[in-house]
């Protein structure tokens, strides 16, 4: 018998592309990108989304993932694009996928794609760091020291060995709000927060705007930089949440950190 060829299928053509914003909350922040991919592709099947598939022996649904937040980091702003074979109602898809995903992986918004260059629009992220055991005063002076530095070189182990890069340059802005303005806990886990009230009394919140560069500078890297410039060493693991991703406003100065990054779906909503 001759070698088996990949069957040529009648693959239904892509009719529509949908862009999704989802959140990774609570205990599910410990899921990795691969964990999410598997869960998402199963959810697509459970929800009956008519996916466009690739050709070949192992056809896979056409899904593109953008800069996922690292394992252990919560996020309110993760983005995915899917290709489907029928014109769908974005809100119905949102509801169906949100129901099919486990609680903690929550689909927040779905839009029908009207534009290209979506990934390029994700210019920067807003990160929120909860620093238990660190006072607002200490956090502020560390933030000032960081911004005062020209560059802060840090090392990270990557697939290609240890890389050294500047963790200061991409940091566009930092802000440490006063405790009087309680931070949005960012959709908490049902079990409640990680930190007891006593700790919260001494738990500074630091918000960062970080430009997306290569290699990417993650909140971990900024924490290392804070240790270098200000000897800031939080006594308990820091809890990190990505609050937003999107285009960076032209002039950051005078903006609050939360306004520095705008909605990447703005163009698609039109």
């Amino acid at each position: 018998m001759s070698p088996r060829q990949a069957p040529v299928r009648d693959v239904a053509p892509t009719v529509q592309r949908l862009r999704l914003r989802y959140a990774k909350r609570g205990r599910l922040r410990f899921s990795s990108h691969r964990d999410f991919q598997r869960a998402f592709e199963r959810a697509l099947r459970r929800a009956g989304v008519p996916m466009a598939y690739s050709q070949g022996f192992n056809p896979h649904p056409r899904v593109s993932y953008a800069n996922s937040a690292p394992t252990g980091t919560a996020s309110e702003a993760e983005y995915v694009e899917i290709a489907v074979t029928a014109m769908l109602d974005p809100e119905k898809v949102r509801l169906a996928l949100d129901t099919a995903l486990p609680p903690g992986l929550d689909v927040i918004e779905v839009v029908s794609s009207k534009t290209s260059d979506f990934i390029e629009r994700l210019e920067a992220s807003v990160w929120e760091l909860e620093l238990p055991g660190v006072s607002v005063k200490t956090a502020r002076s560390a933030a000032e020291a960081l911004m005062a530095a020209e560059e802060v070189m840090v090392e990270r182990l990557t697939k290609n060995g240890i890389r050294t890069f500047d963790a200061r340059g991409p940091v566009v802005a930092v802000e440490v709000p006063l405790p009087a303005t309680p931070a949005d806990p960012g959709g908490d886990s049902p079990e409640g927060g990680i930190h007891s009230p006593e700790e919260m009394a001494d738990c500074a919140i630091m918000r960062l705007v970080v430009r997306h560069v290569t290699p990417s500078v993650r909140p971990d890297d900024v924490l290392v930089a804070l240790r270098h410039v200000a000897n800031l060493v939080p006594p308990v693991p820091v809890r990190v949440t990505r609050l937003a991703q999107g285009p960076l406003v032209a002039d950051v100065s005078g903006q609050t950190v939360l306004n520095a990054v705008t909605d990447p779906f703005a163009a698609d909503r039109g």
Binding site: S32, D35, R46, M87, L88, P102, E191
Partner: protein, 673 residues
């Protein structure tokens, strides 16, 4: 409207409110440790179809453990079935717990975080019942870690009413004597009805105000005749170390404890909503069990012996379970599970029916079967109509025809070669052949014959396929004599001889110029088999070894990177000091007909005399036929259990199934132009 976009069963509302009562989640404490360990997602739960109930809404609380890592434990069918059967009951809740890796164990000890369930993250010590499913004996040390982390005394004798009852199940529970000190009870056989029975007894006892304390509860369980309570039996030994007798020490406790057999699988179509973990697991597919038991009678096979008689699930129920499960899980692949799946009397109908039904979808079907015949290939071909034909596995088990007569695996070399050649001819590129080494009466020649078989397989396969790039992998497992099998009396081959024999085989394959390069060879060294053999056929004296080696740090013994043979031998030496027995006595020694075996008081339904005769037939190289196709050979299971072998076509077809829902009909935009 299809149900597929409204999978309402896993309500997130349930999850949110569940934990605001008596037994608090330890998640906040655990959460601080998770950034510091590898693969933290395995400890957070949140599987699709998981259930969390409010603690105070139910009378009986079960914690179920598969005592291995999450990635291995979470797909386990036994635990998933019991989890669902129990949670369906209004007065019961069940949560799951798995072994934590040493990195987290260390942090938990430092921070005082107890062993927890992954559902509600409740502390294990708070539950009424702690059920463990032992697929293998190598999970014993992980049980001790869990008990210790939970603050439950290791010894049953030291526990009181504050502690859960520790209950062992699974295949290893057919000889629980090595862990008799650590468990309160053991259950033999199918768990579905057994866990409900135990739940009821426990509920009533609690409702009555726990009369007579823990002992009374155990006594009530013992009196059912089907729950084994080790502490209610005394074991006496002869001066030479053998057992004199095992006798009940309480009135009303039966001399023998019987196994549970679920007769109608169609009435118990579990799991209905299989758990889908977020973390990667060893089985990224859904499984549907198509029958239990096996009548082939391979003499080494404990699973085949202790799960008799055969009970089939009907084609119709199988099809319904596949449909429902796919919808509930979103899995892309379905495995049709059983000990020997090609033996289902309606397997042709099932395979064709499912292949037709899912043709053109992305759903894959697989049928774990290792039967060495052409029918098996037909089935595999059917299930891979559109897919890739990567690998097929056959299990002749014995290398020589003589060996196959000894183990009762009836296939001639000619049949074997022809079957495998047919597989290559049908487009399969990779064939795996599974054999055992160390079988009773085996010689070097029997094992070297494996090389000859592999050579002929490649030679014939090249002709049949017209290709040179076909491959065959020879995979070898060490034989371990198991309780309740005809080989329970046999001597286990020592690990030095096992390794030496396998080296000779490896050399014979490697040195073959013509075919050697097309033959892969996989085997493990014989040392872990010694420990498994010790734990399989051990008695209560072996418990001290387990405790000692655990204290010395043994964990995850089923993982080669964690298994430490020297530590086990050292522990055995220390624990058996002053006894007349040692590891060799447990493993290498052949037993006599008259010897009282540690598991004789546990009734697997097999008649001991029948097993002995079969053992004698084995030594004389006499094979017996499959009792489903030929007159019954009276193993004892059917008569005694008042059961008939349930086989034979029901005549049903899959045509009665409703058509598959079309995809995404409900998601379409209504106003799209």
């Amino acid at each position: 409207m299809t149900a597929s976009i409204l999978p309402g069963e896993t309500s997130s509302a349930l999850l949110v409110n569940a934990l605001s009562d008596d037994v608090q989640s330890v998640f906040p404490e655990l959460e601080r440790l998770l950034p510091l360990v590898s693969k933290p997602v395995q400890y957070v739960g949140g599987e699709l179809n998981a259930v969390i109930k409010p603690w105070n809404d139910v009378a009986v609380h079960w914690a179920l453990m598969y005592p291995d890592a999450y990635e291995v434990g979470v797909p386990n069918q036994g635990v998933q079935i019991l989890y669902e059967v129990l949670n369906e009951r209004e007065d019961v809740l069940a949560e799951r717990t798995y072994a934590v890796w040493p990195d987290l164990e260390k942090l938990m000890r430092e921070a005082g975080v107890p062993q927890f369930t992954v559902d509600g993250h409740r502390p294990l010590g708070a539950f009424d019942l702690f059920g463990l499913s032992f697929a293998t004996e190598l999970g014993y040390t992980n049980m001790l870690t869990a008990l210790d982390l939970a603050g439950i005394p290791l010894h049953a004798a030291d526990r009181d009413e504050r502690h859960p009852l520790v209950i062992a199940g699974g295949h290893a529970a057919f000889n629980p004597e090595p862990i008799a000190d650590f468990i309160d009870a053991a259950v033999l056989g199918d768990g579905e009805q057994a866990v409900l029975l135990i739940s009821n007894v426990t509920r009533d006892w609690k409702a009555e105000g726990r009369p007579g304390g823990r002992e009374e509860l155990l006594l009530r369980l013992a009196r059912t005749g089907s729950v084994y309570i080790p502490s209610f039996y005394d074991v006496e030994y002869l001066p030479d170390g053998r057992i004199r007798r095992v006798a009940p020490n309480k009135p009303g406790v039966p001399w023998r404890v019987s196994k549970h057999t679920l007769m109608d699988l169609d009435e118990w179509p579990y799991p209905k909503a299989p758990l889908v973990p977020l973390a990667e697991s060893v089985h990224e597919r859904m499984s549907v069990e198509i029958f239990r038991g096996c009548t082939r009678g391979c003499r080494f096979c404990q699973a085949g012996m202790i799960t008799r008689p055969v009970r089939e699930r009907s084609a119709e129920t199988v099809a319904k379970m596949v449909d429902a499960g796919l919808e509930k899980t979103g899995y892309e692949e379905v495995g049709l599970l059983s000990l020997s799946s090609a033996d289902h009397s309606e397997i042709g109908l099932i395979a064709k029916g499912l292949a037709d039904r899912y043709e053109g979808t992305e759903t894959g079907l697989s049928l774990p079967s290792t039967r060495v015949d052409a029918f098996n290939i037909d089935l595999a071909n059917e299930l891979t109509r559109n897919g890739r034909r990567s690998g097929l596995t056959f299990a002749p088990e014995g290398g020589s025809e003589r060996m196959r007569r000894v183990i009762n695996k009836m296939v001639t070399e000619e049949d074997l070669i022809r079957t495998v050649a047919t597989a290559y001819g049908n487009g399969w590129r990779q064939v795996k052949l599974y054999f055992m080494c160390g079988l009773p009466t085996e010689t070097d020649e029997d094992v070297l014959q494996i090389a000859e078989v592999a050579r002929r397989v490649i030679e014939t396969g090249r002709k049949a396929s017209g290709r040179k790039d076909i491959r065959c992998t020879v995979s070898i497992g060490g034989f371990i004599p198991k309780p309740h099998t005809p080989f329970q009396w046999a001597s286990q081959l020592d690990h030095e001889s096992t390794d030496a024999r396998l080296r000779k085989l490896r050399d014979a394959i490697r040195n073959d110029r013509e075919y050697g390069k097309s033959i892969g060879f996989r085997y493990h060294d014989g040392k872990p088999g010694v420990v498994e053999g010790l734990l399989s056929r051990g008695d209560r004296r072996v418990g001290a070894i387990i405790e000692r080696v655990w204290s010395a740090g043994a964990r995850f013994d089923g993982w080669s990177e964690h298994f430490n043979f020297e530590a086990w031998m050292l522990a055995a030496e220390g624990a058996l000091e002053g006894h007349v027995v040692d590891v060799d006595w447990y493993t290498l020694r052949e037993r006599e007909y008259t010897e009282v075996l540690p598991w004789d008081h546990l009734d697997s339904g097999l008649d001991k005399d029948w097993l002995w005769e079969d053992w004698q037939d084995a030594v004389e190289e006499v094979a017996v036929e499959d009792c489903r196709w030929t007159p019954c050979f009276d193993c004892g299971v059917c008569g005694q259990m008042d059961t008939e072998i349930q086989v034979g076509p029901t005549g049903a077809t899959l045509l009665g199934m409703p058509a598959l829902p079309s995809r995404g009909g409900d998601l379409v935009a209504e106003t799209s132009s």
